[in-house]
Symmetry: D2
């Protein structure tokens, strides 16, 4: 039974970790921290947890107690893991960071997009980017894992087969992505109010979103060459879900794209290539650790359209974090992650 610590457990990725770990047969949450909610029972904030966490209370961070865990998840805003991860690693605790702190290898690039000095540049080199479909082997032996962002997960999984195969025209990739509102987190912002975001659709950060350099880094590694990417995120009036609509020109007209995608993900437990002609729905992965993908070539053009959906809080965050934990500790990769999506 793994002993789990969670730092910053009051947000949506925190409660989602608790929901998923409640069903994990080899994990036990022994500590969850929050400075603002210290002393509050987790179920007072999230009553759905009453059934499984009768005795779990938010505490102030206690490094000694956390270091005694087998693994500590950071479900914190960016910057927080920088200062704490090192100490835990030295104590022999594995660290799985759901924030953006260790995702980008280029320190200057990180600092440009996140607007602050990087607090732990020496750890960045060691950190493994926790996309199992790409880095499964490295994850097995990692100490520090940077869990991919939600947009980056959906987008990279959709583009990967074409880039790895070398048939994508990398001079212009477009990712038109639609996200549910939970992607903005559980902070009291006007823009996330019900009355501001329901019955509404809008793009945001068109001039540049923080996930752009992360996606680009992953795609260039896959393509083994520089790429141009235009990434436009949109806010959609739903709680969960990311729908990535990806556009890319293919250089080879004759490749069987359906087969290419099916083969690429044939052994992946959490990537599901739908039959040709399908349109994946975000609700088909609501609450599930799954990415569903369909590939289209409208009017037999060379401009390929890939549709890729995930639940931003599961395969785009907490579920993927647990998938990494399973790999890291030699467990069955799917352990505790076989929830069926809620439909309707």
């Amino acid at each position: 039974m793994l002993k789990i610590g969670i730092i910053g457990g009051t947000g949506y990725t925190g409660v989602e970790l608790l929901r998923l770990l409640a069903a994990h047969p080899e994990a036990e949450v022994v500590a969850i921290t929050s400075r603002s909610e210290e002393g509050i029972h987790v179920a007072d904030m999230y009553p759905n947890l009453r059934d499984h966490y009768s005795n779990l209370t938010f505490t102030a961070p206690d490094t000694q107690k956390l270091a005694a865990c087998d693994v500590v998840f950071f479900a914190t805003p960016h910057g927080v893991a920088h200062s704490l991860a090192g100490e835990l690693l030295e104590a022999g605790t594995k660290v799985i960071d759901l924030s953006a702190d260790f995702r980008i290898k280029d320190i200057a690039e990180w600092e440009k997009w996140y607007g602050q000095p990087h607090g732990a540049p020496t750890l960045v080199k060691e950190a493994v980017y926790g996309l199992p479909e790409v880095n499964r082997e490295q994850i097995k032996t990692a100490r520090l894992i940077a869990v991919p962002g939600c947009y980056p997960t959906a987008t990279q999984l959709g583009f990967l087969p074409l880039l790895e195969e070398g048939i994508a025209d990398t001079s212009q990739l477009i990712a038109d992505c639609k996200s549910g509102v939970s992607g903005a987190g559980r902070s009291a912002k006007i823009g996330s109010l019900f009355c501001e975001s329901t019955e509404n659709m809008m793009a945001y950060s068109v001039s540049g979103h923080r996930h752009l350099p992360e996606i680009k880094q992953g795609l260039e590694l896959a393509a083994q060459q520089p790429i141009n990417l235009t990434f436009v995120p949109h806010l959609t009036p739903m709680i969960r879900g990311i729908h990535a609509t990806l556009y890319v020109k293919v250089k080879d007209h004759f490749t069987d794209l359906q087969k290419l995608f099916e083969q690429r993900f044939a052994n992946e437990p959490f990537v599901d290539v739908l039959p040709a002609g399908s349109h994946p729905q975000t609700r088909s992965v609501k609450g599930a650790n799954m990415c569903r993908i369909a590939v289209h070539r409208p009017q037999n053009s060379d401009l390929v359209v890939i549709l890729s959906v995930i639940d931003n809080l599961v395969k785009g965050a907490s579920g993927q974090a647990i998938q990494n934990m399973n790999i890291l500790f030699g467990l069955d990769e799917t352990l505790g992650l076989t929830h069926t999506a809620l439909m309707p």
Copy 2:
């Protein structure tokens, strides 16, 4: 491993049975019928099921095949179970009916509300009303179980402690109930369209709803006397959830109601009495087989307000059906039913 058959599996209670049974360690769905969708793979209709039911296809009803199951669930419109249940029972198969066909003991009353002759009056007497919090012992030895309706489950669980204790003024009970749209099922009706039901709230069937006689029957059994009940259902713009707001005058001003409720449900795995002063949220049970209840006495009046929430598709239908199955077959009552609600 129990062999399960499902009749009429295309509706929302059908897919919810499949979602829940996918996580049940002692159950295997071996047959699912639908005349309209014969030959269609279940996952073509509900892509969330791709991960667990790779080989399950809707078939036309085949009595012999169904009779070979340990238990058959009816997830059909009313009237269907009347004609098929008897044959299965004779073959030794247990029947758990999610429809209203065997809930009401008074045949004339059933015929009045459902507008058709009752097709199996002799089975009604034998049928056990599957509310485990009331009839657990009878369920254990039943052959035929009538799973309670969604409104009746939330309403009866909320009123029961006061009625059983004999302190309710039974001359006027009021149940003001709010339901999500999935209660109307998966049929193509104008009133259930997104554009007709979102951003809207309305009462319906104020002059009389089919769940009224079912609720009344249960409450009168608990109270051991006739009662007057006004039941007003409302349609609420959400998929799942019933919120019952119950009003009843108590005759004894000094009873500790909080304690009464806590004691009544102390040993119930699927009824959660919240701390005094709480307001249960329907989302706290979304996807979970749970009823959460709070009891209030505003301004210290004798008019008590009880708040009771369930997920209409789980504790109000398919989850409760599986809870009955567990009891019926001597399994742990909570087996396969410990999902944590999805929040957010």
Copy 3:
């Protein structure tokens, strides 16, 4: 052309005043104040206003400029109008207050529910409660109008005919009310986030809500006797709308309630009694200054059920405020208020 000032124009009742006044042929908004948004163009906050208010900017409150208006609307949190209304009235400006500051005649009661000393008790006596269906004559000659709250408007209009007629059993009135989320205003609160309030239904403030004393005061005036009222508000996942479901026992079994309601509101331009058997939908008044009411007597019982719906931001706030303005200045009461509700 009336010169209009608005104090505190950044909230939902403020923008709704601007939306409605844009269509009013005899009104011109000359000043709108907000300390927090000083210098910001109103259309930068609410882009729907770009088409009608090309030159209107939030300013800091300037009493002299406001006093030069014919009428000033307060769309402020409670307490603000206390300190400013007096000065404007002395300058001869009419004041229409959308907050709760002057609604309750009993100063001690106000202070109990609002948790602060009343800042202008001498003005309370003079203030006219701006429910035109009750106080039209007094509104005509008022200087200071207290616009009713949203719940109080829907609830009072529904109960009035029975209370005025003297046939209601006043020992137990119940108002089970459901409100859209905009009733909580445009402030950045966790509970009003999209992810916290969509796909959810819950009661709140069951132990006592601030609108309770306001409703009670109005109902007792109508009944000319003390009443007992249980008021349970609920939060519903929609932007706009209040649905009041009212329960009251009638003492006279033979009154034609449909006729009673139709006659009571026969000359009211903004109260619509629906045909017998109707179920009013909140969306049928979305954006419109209208209250639609239906009266039911289920199973011919003496417990009457009244359904009353309004748009909380229009007939429950800004539209009713403008209706008061029209009466106050001798204009056609319906001027600028004849919008058709948006359906779908």
Copy 4:
């Protein structure tokens, strides 16, 4: 006062025509037809219309009565206007068709996409495509107007300035469009149910949507050359609104795009170019006859991103139809169309 007839008034574009015409000072609806709802009062179907149409009842189509109107709107499924429009035109009645029957000049193309023979090919040549921002002069003298579709309106207005200026790379235009559910109309389809479409996002018809040839025709006329267009529509969980996200490479790096767009639409009452850096929200046009556009050049790339939003039922259908009517009859183009969008 114009006498108006509406054929097929039971759908969402029909009720929206009624809502908008209720506020039009020069229009009177004298006939509205529906075979299925003959004899039903319009307000029984749409209670929001109770306030303005106390005496309007659906009738069976009566050509003589319709021919006596000044103008007849077709709010019908495709194919219906083919058989009736000719007769009305001969009688001297103007026809404004909201369906797709006369939009596409190439008869074979129409027949390919709509899967049936064209019923009135001789009228197609005469029909004017009713996009006032392009064809205002021809509309003035037209007899028969084909009102553009919703996707085509948002998409063409967004692309036009670049195509007309000749600086777009026409070899690859991409329109990633998101629509509210009302675009699917008021028919009882499973896919349009609340429980199927809320909390969900999905693409559809990626292999080819009927609006593709209409958009292409308009863009090629503007560009004066062939173009390649990839058009991917998505279903979004909201009632109203289209958000078009358009991608196009520009050949000239130095054009001031913001200025280009502002100048192109400087005199257009219903196209609003937002300040540089803006992200238009669909709710900012909810209920309003307005298209709001923003133009972006992310990371100073040559791939331009244009954001264009409309209310599909207003500027995308019924509002634009009335705008055409105003032009056709020499009225002020904005008459009856100055509603402010509902926010929140």
